[in-house]
């Protein structure tokens, strides 16, 4: 599954990227294979997403989240 499919409050571990050319910015912000990501909430209009990653808050669009493969973690 991809990060886009995680719901608010859920966590996942990044397993890789859908395309070979993942935006470098996502990597630089710390979204790398093995990183745990928590979806905090969605913006009022449903997009973008508000994430917690490496102890800080990051917002990305669902279009970018759909490029990131994750494995859902238990609660």
């Amino acid at each position: 599954m991809t990060l886009k499919e995680l719901r608010s409050g859920e966590r996942g571990t990044i397993t890789g990227f859908v395309e070979e050319h993942a935006p470098v910015r996502l990597l630089e912000m710390g979204l790398l294979p093995g990183t745990v990501v928590e979806v905090l909430r969605l913006a009022p209009l449903g997009d973008p997403m508000d994430l917690r990653v490496r102890g800080y808050r990051l917002s990305i669009r669902k279009a970018e989240a759909a490029l990131i493969n994750v494995e859902r973690q238990g609660p």
């Binding site: 910015r25 996502l26 009022p44 669009r61």
Partner: protein, 714 residues
């Protein structure tokens, strides 16, 4: 920590680097004692903040734009990178990396990149107090040892640790040698061959290695080497090799850095509370970015800001207006009458005064925007608005540049630099001047006050207020349409991405907010000083010369007592025959379909230098020949009283509306064109901007005036 030996030569240039929102500017202000200069980088004409180190004026301190990475994607990052590698100006002698102690992992990413540049480096570990509050203690000594560079804990807001930092920068540490973070061995093994294929002489070994790795992992970096085919071929070959073995080499560099950082942070940080407990920021965001409450709060805040800008500024504006009036009459009283006094009083004082009056509103707007930025709320507006902005072809981050443009398009256009995508940035720049800026306000105010009846709709909505609001609305709606059009037909292709940090909420620092407010407003004030001053002087000459022939002057000579009409005729004749009169009359045929007479035509043309000049022009046209008459009737009443030779009024409400609409859309501002040229690097975009906006202005004025006449309005 090293103590100043007093013998080592002082560094010449200190550069401050760091992520956005880490308190870099506060550190900079402390190091330079607030005496700083905002100028341009040589060659690239991009804003550059620099100052002199307190206690050592020969040392220059430079504040780089906040960046997440040195692999440039936005314009800001490009500048930071070019500055650090010496591509603009010389290579710095010391780099101070300011990092946020509460967010160490991601902040250290940039630090590892700066380390790779092989420059003396000091890390300022800022906001250690906030880290403590969040339940983390950082072992500074351990961190410093693991990183191999001096680390100084600071709380920049309170000034803690900054004296140590100031002492430390005076005797920079030795450069830590070598390459410290690990790379996947299979990727590592490719690099020597690539570095050897890179035929650039002035690169150090470290730079060769860096460039090889970056070109291997990042397509955009490789594309820059079109003039080095041997290198490109070698990189392609290495890529094929790695692909064949299923190596995720694309993120080898980033992963290597984080892999090195993570255990360091882990060891150096002692958490004495679980970090999962909702923080203050989490609780605020539960409300502020709430599905229903979030947008309501956003709109309410905007309404509050505009209400404040329009009502709180009034007393200050009245005061300035009064002061300018008094200054004008004092000048007239003190100096012997003559053309020099006319020039000073009518041209310079009135012209510059008409603009300075709007300074309180600009200051207030920038104050509120600064407040929104400093607290961290601005990032939330981008978060809330992104979906809407995306739909019309913009980006959530365009909100700040567009809001700033309500004050002045120039800082708005410059603020677009933070956008990652070049396409998003260009579209934002292209539509920013449609937001009604404060230079349009004097025009709106004058014509609305003169021609829109005061009175209330349904007992509460003031007509004049509604008219003012619709000016702002029209510009904003058109900006949205223009953005959509540009995205759809001009800047086609996939939209840029939106990756944005939501910083923790922080108490705003009044000093910072005020400082930024003053810096931004300076642009406006300088403009008032230079352009408006020059225009006023030139205009005054154009309106005063050539003087009419003796037969025409004759009439005013005998004008005594009741012959007021003939005085007026003489005045009109005088301005009519001046250069400005000639210009206006030449343009009248083009402007007549919009309802404008020669005086307004002259006003509009001169206003292409800067919008508010139309007021000076009309002021000069209507007052230039009344020097005998001291009773200075307000321009508003003169406009109302003016008639065509056949007795029809020159200004009707319909003409006024047509003129207002013209000013909503037309790009009448040389400074905006100049800044757009600077920021886009070509005259093409400013030219397109000017053409499309002016065409819109003409078209809408035409529709309104001709349509209005068909509907039977005068």
């Amino acid at each position: 920590m090293a103590q100043s030996s007093g013998q080592a030569p002082l560094p010449r240039r200190i550069v401050l680097a760091g992520n956005p929102n880490v308190g870099k500017t506060t550190v900079f202000n402390y190091l330079t004692g607030l005496k700083q200069r905002v100028a341009n980088y040589p060659g690239v004409t991009v804003e550059r903040k620099s100052g002199r180190l307190v206690g050592a004026p020969q040392v220059e301190v430079i504040d780089l734009p906040g960046t997440y990475s040195l692999a440039p994607k936005s314009m800001d990052e490009q500048i930071a990178f070019d500055m650090l590698v010496g591509r603009i100006e010389q290579v710095p002698d010391v780099v101070v990396c300011v990092v946020d102690a509460t967010n160490l992992e991601r902040n250290l990413f940039l630090v590892t990149q700066v380390m790779d540049l092989g420059l003396p480096l000091i890390v300022a570990l800022n906001m250690v107090d906030a880290a403590e509050q969040a339940g983390m203690t950082i072992d500074v000594q351990l961190l410093s040892k693991a990183l191999g560079v001096p680390v100084i804990p600071t709380v920049a807001r309170r000034g803690d640790g900054l004296d140590e930092l100031r002492a430390q920068v005076r005797c920079p540490p030795p450069v830590a040698e070598g390459w410290r973070w690990p790379l996947m061995p299979v990727v590592e093994a490719r690099l020597p061959a690539l570095a050897a294929a890179l035929e650039v002489e002035d690169f150090t070994d470290l730079q060769r290695r860096m460039e090889s790795l970056r070109s291997l992992t990042e397509e955009a970096a490789l594309e820059r080497w079109t003039d080095a085919p041997r290198f490109v071929a070698a990189v392609r070959q290495a890529q094929e090799f790695l692909k064949g073995r299923n190596v995720p080499y694309r993120y080898a560099e980033v992963a290597g850095r984080y892999q090195w950082i993570k255990p360091i942070v882990h060891q150096a940080t002692k958490a004495h509370r679980p970090s999962d407990a909702p923080s203050f920021t989490d609780r605020v965001d539960a409300v502020v970015t709430h599905r229903v409450l979030g947008p309501i709060i956003f709109v309410a805040l905007l309404a509050l800001v505009f209400q404040a800008v329009f009502s709180w500024a009034v007393p200050a504006m009245d005061l300035i207006e009064e002061g300018i009036g008094r200054l004008g009459s004092t000048v007239r009283a003190l100096l012997p009458s003559g053309w020099a006094v006319d020039l000073l009083a009518d041209g310079v004082i009135t012209g510059v005064g008409n603009v300075v009056v709007f300074l309180p509103q600009i200051l207030l707007l920038f104050f509120f925007l600064g407040l929104m930025e400093d607290t961290g709320y601005m990032a939330r507006t981008a978060f809330i608005m992104d979906k809407v902005m995306k739909r019309v072809g913009l980006n959530g981050r365009s909100v700040l540049p567009l809001l700033s443009s309500y004050a002045c398009a120039i800082p708005g256009i410059m603020a677009a630099r933070t956008l990652d995508s070049e396409r998003d940035r260009l579209i934002t720049i292209m539509v920013a001047p449609l937001m009604s800026c404060s230079a349009r306000l004097p025009v709106y105010t004058l014509f609305i006050a003169a021609f829109i009846p005061s009175g209330k709709l349904f007992g509460f909505a003031d007509y004049q207020g509604l008219a003012m609001f619709s000016m702002y609305l029209m510009g904003t709606v058109m900006a949205v349409i223009a953005a959509w059009f540009l995205r759809r037909f001009v800047f086609k292709g996939s939209e840029g991405y939106f990756v944005m940090e939501l910083p923790p909420y922080r108490r705003p620092r009044l000093r910072q907010v005020l400082l930024r407010m003053v810096q931004r407003s300076q642009i406006f004030a300088v403009r008032a000083g230079k352009i408006i001053f020059t225009c006023s002087v030139v205009l005054w000459f154009l309106a005063s010369f050539p003087k009419p022939g003796p037969t025409e002057v004759n009439t005013s000579g005998v004008a005594a007592g009741p012959a007021a009409d003939s005085v007026y005729a003489a005045q009109t004749a005088e301005i009519h025959s001046s250069f400005i009169g000639l210009l206006g009359r030449a343009l009248e045929p083009v402007m007549a379909p919009l309802g404008f007479d020669w005086k307004m035509s002259a006003g509009i043309v001169t206003a292409f230098a800067a919008r508010e000049v139309i007021i000076s022009t009309l002021g000069i046209i209507y007052s230039v020949s009344e020097e005998a008459d001291e009773s200075n009737i307000a321009l508003r009443d003169q406009l109302k009283a003016d008639t065509y030779p056949d007795g029809r009024p020159v200004f009707t409400p319909l003409v006024a509306v047509s003129l207002l609409v013209f000013f909503v859309f037309a790009l009448q501002c040389m400074s905006t064109l100049a800044i757009a040229r600077r920021e886009t690097g070509t005259w093409l975009w400013p030219a397109v901007m000017w053409l499309y906006m002016t065409a819109l202005a003409y078209l809408f004025s035409l529709i309104i005036y001709q349509g209005g006449r068909l509907l039977g309005f005068a």
